[in-house]
């Protein structure tokens, strides 16, 4: 079993936390994991991507090949489209619906959404609303982890355990808010 994921978003959206949640859950389940991150200049409000590879055997490389991603999981709809060439024909595209408009030539939102829907079975998540309802706007990324978890080869309970570990130092309230966002994202 091998499951390749491209994580996308805009610097500051918590792409690395999404990666950490899934990666830790996968490791708790005994899977091998490779997670490639972006640090430094590229983080500052620019397009950010991370490769996350899960497998039950050794994974040599850090990077997902073109046409090889089982899933693109994006915190932002335009960023979801940026890496489409990585997606398998039957791969899953999951994106948050809320755009981050921080460039002057940001395309028309309707065009972006039709581009997302043209991929077939795209899952569009209103992560912002889920986060608000969970009581913590920062939990939008855990809503996205929840939406992804329905398709990942990782048990839901493992990812929940990972989320509890990630926020352990922040207290019970923050943990519960993130778990609630995760569950609501999973739907």
């Amino acid at each position: 079993m091998k499951y390749d994921i491209i994580l996308a978003g805009v610097g500051g959206q918590g792409v690395l936390s999404v990666a950490a949640g899934i990666a830790t859950g996968a490791m708790l389940q005994g899977l091998k994991v490779r997670q490639s991150e972006v640090h430094g200049m590229a983080q500052r409000g620019g397009a950010v991507m991370s490769h996350l590879r899960l497998s039950d055997e050794e994974i040599p490389g850090d990077l997902v090949g073109k046409g090889n991603a089982d899933m693109i999981l994006s915190m932002e709809p335009l960023e979801a489209l940026r890496y489409l060439e990585y997606l398998k024909p039957d791969g899953k595209l999951i994106t948050a619906s809320e755009p981050v408009v921080n460039i002057p030539n940001y395309p028309d939102e309707a065009d972006i959404m039709s581009g997302v829907e043209a991929t077939g079975a795209a899952v569009i998540v209103d992560a912002k609303t889920i986060a608000r309802e969970s009581g913590n706007m920062k939990a939008a990324n855990m809503a996205m982890v929840g939406a992804a978890s329905a398709y990942l080869p990782v048990e839901q309970s493992r990812i929940e355990e990972a989320i509890r570990n990630m926020f352990a130092s922040k207290g019970d309230k923050i943990i519960e808010q993130n778990i609630n966002a995760f569950k609501a994202g999973r739907g």
């Binding site: 430094g40 409000g45 990585y86 940001y106």
Partner: protein, 534 residues
């Protein structure tokens, strides 16, 4: 100790700790910074390790040499362009009789994710005629770092570990082994091995050249340079280095016959093994991360009995980093395609954070420039390099650490006016002071703007080597006229006042310095967060 999930940088740092280092020095630079971050964190919680950032890579390297001189193991870290700064002590240290193991961890950035160049540090290791390890996963980062310390003490040379961005910043499981004891404090018993007077240096140089055969014997025998020969398949063989092997290992599953293969991760290149491979194949495909280091040696200047293909003939792209797709053509594998979109996706470049003090400084500087027919603004390496992009379009040169000051001086002395140099506080302390002393000595008509946000922001908010409060006295101390050292607060409410100060100093026919003082928001936020957790 059980399994740990670590970044490549962190695995290297742990390898150094378990190799028994007593000291570590470095200067921040993506993608190397997390090595020292890990060591700093460790040294706060454990006894016996002195770890610190230095002013720049040259001072870091020299400090590391001192630790080796007294017999201690020491790690020195920097990014690839940092080694240019440290090149003087680095090159000369190859001639020293290294006592305590000295390992240089240098992180290259193929693809220039966060750098101004793509230089390949393996050339530096060959230039200095020392040994170099090139790990390709986190476990190797750990193991090779430990091995590098042993090698350094066995051959009495500094040893390089060459990292690359993709490895530095990816996470995987590492299984550490039993830590080694630290070395006792014991000064070298061979002082002649540390004094590079010409007569002694000549002797040391000859000794270094004579030991090359020993280095190559090691790299021929080490398990880190494995060679497999397939006598039934002559069509082509493969040489990989670094991450090239990872992508090759995945791609080779699609090849019918498995080619003969030499993987090189310890340098100097094991020539005997290269020849053995060459004798078994008609063609060699070279897949190496970075420049054409191995390939250049293979090709040489004269016709070859074996065809060589790789980056030089374009079978693998000459620029950028390797990936699972761009090595396929060289192996005769068809390209792969995924889904696409008809839509044109606009780029989303990095940008200054909302509310960044640099944005307010640039706004004031831009407005002040409007009162001059023409002006020059040179700049430097840091977050503020993003001032080159819209909407600021505020700066005109970005070259290397500290270059803004000297470049401005040269332009002013060639007759241009007004000339402004913009540099961050950490970059100024790294290598901006020396050219400013030059400007003081020549009374150069220019204005230096020090963007003082109190941190090394771009690389993650490390502490600067001196606090902001020392800048004023430092500037006065080297002879900048006190009435032309101005401090502004880059905030919108001070915009008009700041524009006025810029105009006044740009009109001054001598040297002036404007300190734009306001804390980095990102660093302040992190410190608040860290403080809140305690």
């Amino acid at each position: 100790m059980g399994e740990m999930v670590l970044l490549g940088d962190e695995a290297l740092a742990l390898g150094a700790i378990d190799a028994g280092i007593s000291s570590a020095y470095g200067y921040p630079g993506t993608p190397s910074s997390e090595i020292m971050e890990y060591l700093l964190d460790y040294s706060e919680k454990n006894e016996g390790l002195f770890a610190t950032w230095s002013s720049n890579e040259k001072t870091a390297y020299e400090e590391a040499l001192g630790a080796s001189f007294v017999g201690k193991r020491v790690l020195v870290t920097m990014k690839h362009v940092g080694l240019n700064v440290a090149a003087d002590p680095f090159m000369n240290s190859a001639l020293l009789d290294i006592k305590g193991g000295l390992v240089l961890a240098v992180a290259d950035d193929p693809g220039m994710h966060s750098s101004q160049g793509e230089q390949d540090s393996r050339y530096f290791s060959a230039f200095a005629r020392i040994m170099c390890f090139e790990p390709r996963n986190q476990q190797e980062c750990y193991e090779m770092t430990r091995e590098a310390f042993d090698i350094s003490e066995m051959f009495h040379i500094p040893v390089m570990i060459r990292m690359v961005t993709r490895l530095a910043h990816s996470r995987a499981v590492v299984v550490p082994s039993t830590p080694r004891e630290r070395n006792p404090l014991a000064k070298t018993d061979n002082p002649k091995g540390w004094m590079l007077l010409p007569a002694l240096a000549r002797r040391n140089w000859s000794s270094l050249l004579a030991r090359q055969a020993d280095f190559e014997k090691y790299t021929t025998e080490t398990r880190y340079n494995p060679l497999t020969i397939n006598r039934d398949f002559r069509k082509f063989g493969v040489i990989t280095s670094g991450l090239g092997k990872n992508y090759y290992d995945e791609a080779k599953k699609e090849l019918g016959s498995q080619p003969s293969h030499l993987h090189i991760s310890a340098y100097p290149v094991p020539v005997v093994k290269v020849r053995e491979l060459a004798a078994a194949v008609d063609k060699i495909v070279v897949i190496e991360e970075g420049c054409t280091f191995i390939e250049d040696y293979l090709c040489g200047y004269l016709p070859q009995p074996v065809e060589i293909t790789g980056k030089k003939d374009g079978a693998v792209p000459l620029t950028g980093e390797l990936n699972p797709d761009n090595i396929r053509g060289a192996l005769g594998l068809a390209p792969r395609e995924g889904l696409g979109t008809d839509m044109e996706i606009p780029g989303r470049p990095p940008q200054l954070c909302q509310g960044c003090p640099h944005a307010d400084t640039y706004a004031a500087l831009n407005e002040a420039r409007e009162s001059f027919d023409n002006s020059i603004v040179t700049s430097d390496i840091g977050c503020y390099s993003l001032g080159a992009l819209p909407p600021y379009n505020a700066i005109e040169t970005i070259i290397c650490m500290g270059a803004s000051v000297g470049t401005a001086k040269g332009a002013a002395e060639a007759g241009f006016e007004p000339v402004v140099a913009v540099i961050g506080d950490s970059t100024f302390l790294h290598s901006g002071i020396s050219p400013l002393i030059d400007a003081v000595s020549c009374r150069t008509p220019m204005t230096l703007v020090i963007l003082d946000n109190g941190t090394v922001a771009m690389t993650g908010g490390q502490k600067t080597i001196l606090p902001s409060s020392r800048l004023q006295t430092l500037l006065e101390g080297i002879g900048v006229e006190p009435e032309h050292i101005r401090t502004i607060t880059p905030l919108k409410k001070h915009h008009e006042e700041n524009v006025g100060i810029f105009k006044t100093e740009m009109n001054y026919k001598g040297l002036s310095v404007i300190i734009a003082l306001r804390e980095c928001l990102e660093t302040a936020r992190k410190q608040k967060k860290a403080g809140g957790q305690k």
